[in-house]
Each structure stands twice: as structure tokens, then as C-alpha cells.
Chain length 332, copies 2
DNA sequence: CTACATTTTGCAATCGGTTGCAAGCCACTG
DNA sequence: CAGTGGCTTGCAACCGATTGCAAAATGTAG
């Protein structure tokens, strides 16, 4: 079937060790044998079996990438960045699509079976305990977009969702909105609750405000749209913080159905700044989350952990900022 | 570090073979030993090392998933479906993000190093030769969304892009468009050229038509928008077949900039029927491509190939149909 | 209880590599 | 030329599993 170490060794007239050594960084081989081996390897089209070598080295370079946000377009960017960042470092993404699963047990077992060197939980909805389960099973883990904590149990890279909630509230206030609402993601998503907390904390400083809140069933267009349609049946607020860009886009679609102009009749501010939010026909004012930096940093952290699996847990929090586009009225 | 076969064998007081056999389907073990082993395994939290076993069985259950469409939202669905379909069958997706690479050599080498059982090339832009390279390297391969051929060299699952071009042309004609244009994806994409061919073939039957065509730089919103903006500078057609939904959405955005109403001033028909096309604020008339069926079928085919790697190559072509929404004028 | 068929079991080789160790090689020094 | 030290090299054990084979255990029939 496939060509192995032994075949190359035979052709080159050297021992198997010699072949192995020419293919491992920093091993001691003379220029002469290296040359012979490389020639033989090329001739046979040999490339070393990564899995076999993992048996002795204990390294597979496989990284589990676990996610559940397959209906949010921002995930396409996340996914693109992650796979590229990993590849660039010679690491291989092994994907787990959680769909609606929220228990880590299956993913943990599976990724252990494949001896992944580390796991990345890329989700803003799963609780810290999810990532913790990997840690407890001895799999180094980074929780990207996870809940930030002052004393994290596992590595977390992302944003301060509570602060983002405050930021959104302040932005609405600064633009003169007085009847304001939070339209969040699902109640069981940590990010939805954290953003809610920050938002409420800020608006409660102003007792004169009329404040409302509600939670969509998912981080999806349909859920955002459905929730906004429901709100429009009653007496809606005039400025909303939608807990995520895709919810915002759904909400914008609902406004349009009712003949309402975003930014004029009702204001919307989102969170994420996904590519689509820049599209001229969406033009969403939103809080920018530095996705690329977050992901690069996550992968950096993964690499660090490969060197030192006992690394002391750390939270890397990146600042966000408001991107002004067309869905909030201008500052006075 | 991690608990192995040997540990379980020791605790259960049986040989390593016995342990191995209790974990492999259809091996001969008595109920008694099986029970002892399972108890010991549970106690130690043992789960077999898939990579070690792959050494002897020659099966990894790893499937390479190769793609380059990370800027087209439809890929999110593709990706969701693929990862789920594979997981359901106990297979594990190992991702390769090609970005701009068009040479198969690197991916082939990498996937061979990881001994994937098969590869899926999920791309409508890469040529058949790309997938062929995997086949030639001894890696069973399915080219999903690939160019359909009457005598394929490797397994292809997808649609007949030429026929889709014809279908789009007929639809525009049936609705009374007489100045019609093709706004395709990049010229080096097989799907862009195939759709173009079918489209032209059909319109050339009607010499009275005024026909134009152009190709966007990529399958992306920006490229579609830019190309349509360019067309609007001159004298645009009044009905367009955009070679892909994301191009259509870009084009729609351009129309809006010029104060033109899609479906009234200028007609647009897309291809794919991605989720977003159903959104009320997009409402794109398009040709539906049965993505879910295509992907399920692709994974079925992968499973077949695992049983019989020498399986005779086959093209599985799925019919498409026009989904009427709001961006073409009604049939007379 | 014996003879024979059928399971069940453990031994040992194997999969494709890596690596500690000791021996071999070489050049250089005195 | 013997002695020293630094590189190279091959041997053989090992990583964590699977599996053919033969021995052992069990079951069945006479």
C-alpha cells in the first residue's frame, strides 16, 4: 500500500533510525546520509505517517475545534480565521459540530480518542464548565469568545460582554434615546446574559428611562426578526441594543416590514461587526469585536500550552468599540 | 499520562487481547470477561486510542474536507451539513482551508500524512484535476459541487451547471426580458464557466435578444456589488442571471444605490438558494440547489468508498428548480 | 466419563514510527 | 602512534493498539 520508513531505509541503504532522523528537526545525521535518504524518499514519494509518530512523541498536532454557532454568519469568518491560523502553525483542525448538544462528555471522549494536542471551544453561548470539562480530562483548552472571569479556571480569550452591554447603553443614551430596549440572544447563552447585565447596570443609573428587554430564541436571523415583530405588535422602544449582529439584521428586516426606517424611526445597535454589517444595504451601527486578534491570540495561546500544558490560566480580554453606521440617529 | 489497554487489562486481570476484543465489534469474548473489562474500563475512564488502532486496522475514520469558499455564506450551511453528516456516521472532519491555493500538492501530502480514509473536495470553483490528484495519490475522493462530466475520473456529486445556465436564461425569457446579461463568478471557476456556457447556448437561440456578460472577481458580496456598479455606469441589461446568490446580493445592493428597484427596474435571478436569500429583506428569486441532498449523498458515497476503494467513478447530479421570490418581474 | 466440536483466551508478531544507548567512525592532539 | 573527544549510526525497546494461531476452556453428544 503506502510507502514506509522501512522502504526508504532499504532503498537508501541505511537503518530506519537514519531515515527517521533526517525527518526530525534537530536530530543528528550527517549531510551524506541525509542526502541519500532524501533522494530515496523523493523517489518513492515518501512522507512520514504523522499518526504513527504521534504514538511515541505524544504529539499529533491535531487541535479540536468545537462550535455550535453554525447559523450565525459571523462564524464563517471565525472559522476561516481559525483554520488559517492553525494551518500556518502546522496544526490541524479537527472539527466538532455540537448542533444542539450542550454536554461536553461526547466531545471530550471523541477528542481524547484522537489524542488532540489541545481543544478550542469557540462559542459565546456555552458556559465555562463546558471548557472546564476538557481541562479536567487532561486536554489543554482555550475558550474563545467565552465568558470572561476575573479568576478563570481555563484560558479564555474574548471580550468583556458586560462592558459591551454598558457601552451599548451609553451609546443609546448619548444619542438621546430615552425609551430603550435590549433584544438579546437566548437566555441560556452566557454572552446574552452578560451583555444584559452590563446594559441594565448602565441604564438603571437613569431612573427616568423607560427600559425593556427580551430574549430571542437563538442567535439567528429568524429569531431576531420574530422577536422584533413581536415587539412591534405592542409599543416598542425607540432604541434597541440587539445582542448580536445577526439578531440586528433580523430586527432590521422586521422594521422594514412595518415601514419603519432604522436610524430614524427606531435605532438599532448590534454587536460583532461581522462582514455583512458593512454591506451597504445593511449598514449596521454596531460594536466591533476584534475577531481576528482574538483568534490569533487564541491560537498563540494554544501554542504556548503545547509547550507548557500546566500553564497558569489566563483571561485575554480585547477592547471593543462602536462603529458608527446608519442605524442609530446621529449624536446631538 | 493517559490510561491504556494495558492498564485496563491489568486491573481486569485479563490479557490485552481480551480488552481489545471487548472494544471491537463482533470479536469473540465471553460475557464474563466482557463484563470484567467494562467495569475496569469505566473505573479507569479508559477509551481506546483511535490513532494507535489505525496503525493496524488501516482505518482512521478521518475524512479530509477541503474547501476554498470561506467568503460565501452558503458555505456555512455546507459546512454545517458536512460536519453533521460525517459525525452521524462516526467519521471525523479534518479541515483544509485552501484560501487562494489552487495546487492540490500540499493538501494531498498533508492528508496523506494524517492517513485520512477519504477526502471531500467541496468547491464549485476547482477543476476536476484538483480532485484527481487525491485519487492519483491513493486517497479516495469525492468532488462535491464539482464539474459534472459524462465520464468523470473521480466521484462527483452536485448539479449540472450548464443546465442551470439554460434554466436561468429560459426563466428570464419567459418573463419577457429582452436585454439580458450574465454576471458570473470568476472566470477561473469551473461553475462560472459552465453556467455561462448553458446561458449563452440558450440565449443564442434567440437572435433578437441583446445579450451581455461579465465576470466578477470572486464569489463574494463585494465582487458582485462592484461588478454591478460598473455595469450601471454604462447601459445595463434589464434582466440578469447572477451566477451565485452572494453575487446577487451584492448586485442588489448596487441597484439600491442607484435607486433602482429589483424586480421592477432590473430583474435578478441567482443560484444556490442559500438561507439568506429567503430573508424578507433580500427576497431573492433564485435557482435552488439541493444542498442537503447533495451533501448527504456525498457522505453516502464516501462510506461506499470506504468499503470499496476501487469503486467505479460515478457522477451524481441533482436537479435544480427556480424559486420565485421578488427580484424578477412576474410571468406575463 | 470420553471424544469431539466450539468458544474463548493469551502469546507474540505487527502496524510505522521514535529514541536511549553503546559501538563505530573520524579527525585531531601530543 | 596511542589517546581523546565529538559526531554518526544501528540495535532494540517501545508507543497503544490489533490479530492469526494454537492452546485452553467450555459445551455437547454418545
Amino acid at each position: 500500500m503506502s510507502v514506509t520508513l522501512k522502504d526508504v531505509a532499504a532503498l537508501a541503504g541505511v537503518s530506519r533510525s537514519a531515515v527517521s532522523r533526517t525527518f526530525t528537526e534537530g536530530a543528528s545525521v550527517s549531510a551524506k546520509t541525509r542526502c541519500k535518504v532524501e533522494k530515496a524518499a523523493k523517489e518513492l514519494g515518501y512522507s512520514p505517517n504523522a499518526l504513527a509518530s504521534s504514538l511515541t512523541t505524544g504529539r499529533t498536532k491535531l487541535i479540536g475545534l468545537i462550535s455550535n454557532n453554525f447559523h450565525n454568519p459571523v462564524f464563517l469568518e471565525v472559522f476561516d480565521q481559525f483554520t488559517r491560523a492553525l494551518q500556518e502553525r502546522g496544526l490541524r483542525p479537527l472539527i466538532v459540530n455540537l448542533t444542539d448538544e450542550t454536554e461536553p462528555a461526547n466531545s471530550v471522549r471523541m477528542l481524547r480518542q484522537y489524542s488532540v494536542d489541545a481543544a478550542i471551544v469557540a462559542s459565546s453561548t456555552l458556559p465555562p464548565s463546558f471548557a472546564k470539562a476538557f481541562h479536567d480530562a487532561g486536554v489543554p483548552v482555550v475558550h474563545t469568545f467565552g465568558r470572561s472571569a476575573t479568576s478563570p479556571e481555563v484560558h479564555v480569550v474574548g471580550i468583556d460582554n458586560v462592558e459591551c452591554g454598558r457601552m451599548a447603553a451609553r451609546e443609546l443614551l448619548a444619542r438621546g434615546y430615552r425609551r430603550i430596549g435590549y433584544l438579546g440572544g437566548p437566555k441560556d447563552a452566557t454572552s446574552a446574559m452578560d451583555r444584559y447585565r452590563g446594559f441594565m447596570e448602565e441604564v438603571e443609573k437613569h431612573p427616568e428611562l423607560e427600559v425593556s428587554h427580551s430574549f430571542a430564541g437563538a442567535y439567528s436571523f429568524e429569531a431576531g426578526r420574530a422577536e422584533m415583530l413581536r415587539l412591534l405588535e405592542g409599543s416598542p422602544a425607540d432604541g434597541y441594543f440587539c445582542g448580536d449582529d445577526i439578531l440586528s439584521v433580523g430586527a432590521l428586516s422586521a422594521l422594514r416590514d412595518h415601514g419603519l426606517k432604522p436610524g430614524e424611526d427606531i435605532g438599532i445597535i448590534g454587536l460583532n461587526d461581522m462582514e455583512m454589517s458593512r454591506w451597504e444595504n445593511i449598514d449596521l451601527t454596531t460594536i466591533h469585536q476584534p475577531i481576528k486578534q482574538i483568534i490569533t491570540s487564541s491560537v498563540d495561546l494554544v501554542e504556548e500550552m503545547l509547550k507548557d500544558p500546566k500553564r497558569y490560566p489566563e483571561a485575554r480580554i480585547f477592547p471593543c468599540r462602536v462603529i458608527e453606521r446608519g442605524t442609530l440617529r446621529p449624536r446631538p
